[in-house]
């Protein structure tokens, strides 16, 4: 029994019990809320089709790989091992893609090695930025996003640079 698996059912049960104690018609209210969820799904669909297709095409063209080799000298200066660079570049764009890269990295290098740890910290500490932006603005039909992308990418860049640094600080380079 893992803690992670326990959180979800416990949370649902707690909320339902709390609702029953407060005399809420839990099923009626649940159905009403679920309808809202369906509307959200309906609204984000066209946005996701557009952006995920564009990202998929970009990945298939090899442009992302080219960008990786272009950035290699820069990351060497920052102390981030170049083997994790594809992960760093893919992570903001694709959640499933970066998970596949991490899986691949952990097969090549031990999860308890420097490279393995940096990759795990990177994967754990950032989100799929482009996907999140697409979904969130898609839901409210906002097209002028002003500084959202640059600010989000600043956060990603800081996470990427620090993941190497923090792992060295806590575990050493071994």
């Amino acid at each position: 029994m893992k803690l992670g698996n326990l959180i979800v059912p416990l949370l649902i049960a707690l909320i339902i019990i709390y609702g029953l104690v407060k005399k809420v018609d839990v099923f009626e209210v649940f159905v009403e809320g679920a309808k809202d969820g369906l509307l959200v799904a309906f609204r984000i669909l066209p946005v996701l089709v557009g952006l995920l297709t564009a990202i998929g095409m970009l990945r298939a063209s090899g442009a992302l790989d080219a960008l990786t080799s272009l950035c290699a000298p820069l990351t060497r200066v920052l102390g981030v091992p170049e083997q994790v660079l594809p992960l760093a570049l893919l992570k903001p764009v694709s959640g499933s893609g970066s998970l596949a890269v991490l899986e691949n990295l952990l097969t090549q290098f031990s999860p308890d090695s420097y490279i393995g740890r940096v990759a795990c910290v990177m994967q754990g500490s950032t989100e799929t930025t482009f996907y999140t932006i697409a979904v969130y603005y898609g839901a409210v039909k906002t097209t002028r996003t002003r500084c959202t992308l640059p600010c989000a990418l600043i956060g990603d860049a800081v996470g990427l640079i620090l993941s190497g640094f923090v792992v060295r600080l806590l575990f050493g380079v071994a």
Binding site: I7, V29, G33, I44, L52, S61, Q123, T126, Y137
Partner: protein, 192 residues
């Protein structure tokens, strides 16, 4: 957004032509659009479930409690929002779900918060400072337990799958701080 979308597609096609990967680009265009629909269908179940559950929490008064618990932090980050604003409640629930690593629960709550923030936005169709802050909080989300990564580490024979938690926490807190500061700086320079 139109430039990002356009640039990605044009770059993909041009790069595909020059590198000889154009067949793969063609396949990706078709399969990814199908994949996007599948993703939404997969998401729809979770969206409905968590919207329903959170509606119960809202009606029972649970969300107000959590919102007031988090208000010292959230009031400082989101300017011009009162503690009992409905948007503030959705924001607090979104942050809570994110920290617990419940991505599927966090998204519907976050989207609800976005809709409520959008109603207060001064210019329709343009992101307000609070909307930008909301999105950035979610692109740099802080997770207490990175369950997926820990599962992968365990599967690959790590001696201690959970040992990366402090490193993940430090890194994500610092990247979140950087992103929030960037939004704050921008908001000061460019009034809505």
């Amino acid at each position: 957004m139109k430039w990002i979308f356009g640039l990605m597609i044009v770059a993909a096609v041009l790069f595909g032509l020059f590198s000889g990967n154009i067949d793969a680009v063609t396949n990706a265009a078709i399969s990814e659009s199908v994949g996007a629909v599948q993703l939404v269908v997969t998401l729809a179940g979770g969206l409905c479930l968590w919207s329903g559950i959170m509606k119960i929490a809202e009606k029972a008064g649970l969300t107000q409690k959590i919102a007031s618990l988090l208000s010292p932090i959230t009031c400082r980050i989101f300017k011009g929002l009162k503690k009992d604003d409905p948007a503030m409640q959705s924001i607090s629930m979104n942050i809570t779900a994110n920290m617990l690593g419940l991505g599927n629960a966090a998204t519907p709550l976050g989207l609800k918060a976005m809709q409520q923030l959008e109603e207060q936005a001064p210019v329709k169709g343009t992101a307000s400072n609070n909307m930008i802050m909301m999105v950035v909080l979610n692109t740099a989300s802080v997770q207490l337990i990175p369950t997926t990564v820990a599962t992968l580490r365990l599967a690959h024979g790590s001696a201690n799958p959970m040992e990366i938690i402090p490193a993940v926490l430090i890194t994500s807190l610092l990247s979140l701080t950087a992103a929030v500061l960037a939004v704050k700086l921008f908001a000061r320079r460019q009034p809505e």
